[in-house]
Symmetry: C2
Subunit: 145 residues, 2 copies
Amino acid sequence: MLPPSTRRSLPMALLRAREVIMAHFRPMLARHDITEQQWRVLRVLAEAGPLEATELANRASILPPSLTRIIKAMEEREFISRNKVKEDGRRALLAISPAGLALIEELSPERTAIYDAIEKRYGAEQHERLLDMLESLIQSESTEG
Amino acid sequence: MLPPSTRRSLPMALLRAREVIMAHFRPMLARHDITEQQWRVLRVLAEAGPLEATELANRASILPPSLTRIIKAMEEREFISRNKVKEDGRRALLAISPAGLALIEELSPERTAIYDAIEKRYGAEQHERLLDMLESLIQSESTEG
DNA sequence: CACTTGTAGTTAACATGTGAATTACATCTT
DNA sequence: AAGATGTAATTCACATGTTAACTACAAGTG
């Protein structure tokens, strides 16, 4: 088979798709002076409760070096807190703070509205199918074989 | 509708999907000491012929500041060349060099093999459908409405 | 216990992403 | 021609992506 042209390749399509979607969220995040990655960290901690850095990095799809910097910045702004684990001097539990939760609460309505608008434009069934297909792709490629 | 959990949101799914796909290509690119973005620039120029920076940036999905730096690096390694446009002192035509073309030729077989393996694991029909759905999403979100 | 191996997290170095400001050049308008 | 406006590209500042190296601590092994 021919190598895919840049106009129809999976990596490019995924990149562009993500761009057009995130374009809708960026103004909201910019108004509150947080980055896309910081926002992911907040949401993961809000949903999952306190996590160690490695687990948080996995769930938020952020590499460890980036997470180190992000945590430092968010600790200074008091959006998250860290508590060392007694039994293991290497680990620390990261938790969202009241201020972090407040930010999530504050942004929730707008966030939902943006998602709904995307879903409406693209079609709810399409949207679900696309999510299924992406999850399937991630499955088929992440489990080595 | 509820805000999507981080486990089933379009931005996260697109990000993860891209990660697992690119993981297959990174070793190849690393062996030849070029970045993912430099590789995109080369392929776009190889396919489309000489382009101005703005058009190249659009086609390769790279922001202008990044492209400026990438072009500088690739000029030094003589993978691309730039020629100023006579009629308009602002513009310049960027073209792939023989060395750049040679690199593409050299990587083509491996690149095709990687794509084929992905397509085989995921399923050729699935793959086509996913590309269609992504293009449709890009369409529905990029044209403002 | 000393040594090796493994793991969590950080640091370093460099490339890119991102938004804002800036420069250089074109074009329009009067 | 002079000034206003627009456009292509760059520069700046800061955040993140990426790989490799490193530190700190833990657990296994002799």
